[in-house]
Amino acid sequence: MNDILLFTLLTLGLLGLFLAVVLYFIAQKFKVIEDPNIDLVEDVLPKANCGGCGFPGCRNFAEVSVAAANEKQSLEGLNCPVGGNEVMKQVAAILKLEVAEKEPMIAVVRCNGSFANSPAKVQYEGPKSCAFAHQLYAGEGGCQFGCLGLGDCVVSCDFDAIHISPLTGLPVVNDKCVSCGACVKACPRGIIELRPKGKKDRRIFVSCVNKEKGGPAKKNCSVACIGCLKCQQVCPYDAITIENNLAYIDFEKCKLCRKCVEVCPTDAIHELNFPPRKPKNDDGTEQSKQLKVDATASAASAGSQNLS
């Protein structure tokens, strides 16, 4: 009995020892030499694996940044949108480099064709997929550039940052957005755009992507951009370009002066998170606009008085 046990232990032990020696030499021969920085960089990354940086995952981004640091001594063109400047600074510190500060971005839905603004003319019954509906027809409201409201962007979002509002039928982005760009790729109509978050979350953008002429655009949606050129003329910073009957505000040139918002006849230009306008006595335009609002308000109240 003891002999058998001894024999077994001895043979297995010797075999194990022999294989360990073999494996040691093989491991030495085929050793993968990896920059230890890669692990360090990966540790500071958010590990969301969202692909927002343009690489398949966080590990891949770490490898690319370390390689870039070793070769070019710069992290230009590399950015983790989820981690933002804080994480990029840590990455740069590990790699002993400097990194330029990047403005945080956010996804912006450039369509305002809600149930009220673009009433449904037909009813869609097919599968809940924007990609499919896009190849099928223009949309319930009739606008062939506008939001289909079936939620491909919602499905694509890993951060619970975009939802379809049941009141308007349009996607709404909340502050969980990390600007990874998944929804931008998922939208078959290219409605969603990444724009800077802006100081105090203040943003101005054209909430329309309709490239049709004014007439047909307006027929399908009451808040469509009709390409009237008014905003382009009023912009003091030359930030607005109009192409194919559609205005676009260049966020790099825009100084958020809000002049275009006032002149837009269809309210297609949106301002977000700005304080309400105050009447200015020395500025004629502001005053008159305010007065007009007052006049209509009083008229409405007068009407209600008559009715009662």
């Binding site: 003319k121 037909v122 997929s129 499919f132 009739g142 062939q144």
Partner: protein, 464 residues
């Protein structure tokens, strides 16, 4: 035993063809038996009066849209060239009536989008010169091969079965290939539609002359007209007429959907199988619709371009389901009006048949070269049921006429795995809708297959 077999669900008993000494044939793989509902089968083809305005979309053919030749304010005559197809796969467009070009603007078409179209204010029906508008039948088979193809090209002919592939391209047999059979599609397997059936009955002789001309163009010694056995009168009629023409025979086919598919028809009529991803010429066949054959007759013998076609207007609740000979560009609402007006509880207006057709977003959409029927459905018959989970019953795989796995392809397409879709041969899908028709869980299989096929096609094109 025979009786018992015939009474199984899905099988119908048809009157046997008189004179039929050949056996009925069909394709082997898959297929379904939707209710036929050929309501307008007895309605003779009527010519619809000219409407006040015609809307002629530019993109009416598969491939590249033709180049516009006219401008706003031009006076045009019936049959005048409006747009020339300059690319290889493109087809001319002619004025369907004489009048003045009101504008060239975007108009809603059957695609559901607004596309470029020519608006013509109709003043009359004054034809251009050298077109024979008489009704006498001309059988001049001495036209040369090149002349036939040139006239087909000039006439702007496209496949009238629905795919709208330019006919002159199909008639040019590639070098090194030999066309043995011209297979003519008189199957009309789509439920409800009867335009081809009526055409075969009423324009049989013209049709056969057209077939003879096409045989000459592709050097095919034989032509086979495939007709399903639910049209015994058409089989009989064409059998009698075809005895006068050499090389043309009629093959009666068992009723099964989608027998009108190119590859299914070749299998049924000639018993050859087209390899995956290849064209029918690979097995020595050229397939064409009966409507196209009639248009070839008109173009070659009478010099008449393709400006009108037979459209079935049918549906449940419609007062008079009919077959109309209408000019291209006539609004769908005019057709419905002529067939007795839109029933109150219509839920869907479908362009084409119930299996492959597509619901229109408006009744002001014009008839184009590819419209074979207008189908009105009530909500009870057309609304979709709530989809449930796939129960792996494999019914879709059984009925797929191309031997694909629709449940898998739909899933892959839903998950955007288009490279795997390609490996599973999504490009072989003929979009017949048999899978969705048979699915007990009401899954939108065809919808996802169509999406996947389009995306995979884009993927393959970008790779090149």
């Amino acid at each position: 035993m025979q009786q018992l077999l015939l009474r199984l669900p899905g099988h119908r008993i048809y009157p046997k063809c008189m004179n039929s000494n050949t056996m009925l044939t069909t394709f082997k793989m898959g297929g379904v038996h939707p209710p036929e509902n050929k309501l307008s089968a007895k309605a003779a083809i009527q010519r619809l009066p000219l409407p006040k305005q015609l809307i002629v979309p530019l993109g009416q053919n598969l491939g590249v849209a033709p180049k516009l030749l006219v401008k706003k304010g031009d006076e045009v005559k019936t049959g005048q060239l409006l747009a020339r197809g300059e690319a290889f796969i493109s087809a001319n467009i002619h004025a369907p009536a004489s009048g003045k070009i009101a504008k060239i603007d975007d108009a809603l078409d059957a695609s559901g989008y607004r596309r470029q179209a020519i608006f013509i204010d109709v003043t009359g029906d004054e034809w251009i010169e050298d077109v024979d508008t008489g009704s006498s039948i001309i059988a001049d088979l001495s036209v040369s091969k090149e002349d036939i193809i040139a006239r087909i090209k000039a006439g702007g002919l496209v496949g009238l079965g629905g795919a709208t592939f330019p006919t002159h391209v199909k008639m040019m047999v590639p070098n090194g290939k030999k066309a043995e059979y011209l297979v003519i599609n008189g199957v009309e397997c789509e439920p409800f539609l009867t335009s081809d059936h009526r055409l075969m009955l009423e324009r049989g002789e013209e049709l056969l002359i057209g077939i003879s001309l096409m045989m000459k163009a592709i050097d095919a010694p034989r032509a086979i007209i495939g007709i399903e056995n639910n049209k015994p009168d058409a089989i009989e009629h064409l059998r009698q007429l075809s005895s006068k023409f050499s090389g043309i025979s009629v093959q009666a086919l068992k009723v099964k959907y989608p027998q009108g598919g190119e590859k299914q028809l070749i299998k049924a009529a000639v018993n050859r199988e087209v390899p995956s991803g290849k064209l029918p010429i690979e097995v020595g066949c050229v397939v064409s619709n009966v409507g196209t054959a009639f248009a070839v007759y008109e173009a070659v013998q009478k010099n008449k371009p393709l400006i009108e076609r037979v459209v079935t207007v049918t549906g449940d609740g419609l007062a008079a389901p009919s077959n109309f000979l209408v000019r291209i560009g006539t609004s769908v609402s005019e057709l419905i009006q002529a067939a007795g007006g839109l029933p109150d509880d219509t839920a869907k207006i479908i362009n084409g048949g119930p299996m492959m057709g597509k619901a229109l977003v408006s009744s002001d959409i014009p008839v184009v070269k590819g419209s074979s029927g207008i189908l009105l459905l009530k909500s009870a018959n057309s609304s979709r049921k709530i989809p449930k989970s796939c129960i792996r019953c494999s019914k879709c795989t059984t009925v797929c006429p191309m031997g694909l796995e629709p449940f898998l392809l739909a899933k892959l397409s839903k998950l955007s795995l288009f490279d795997r879709c390609e490996n599973e041969r999504i490009m072989d899908c003929i979009e017949c809708g048999s899978c969705q028709f048979t699915c007990p869980s009401m899954l939108p299989l065809l919808d996802y297959l169509r999406l996947g096929k389009q995306k995979t096609g884009n993927l393959i094109r970008t790779r090149k």
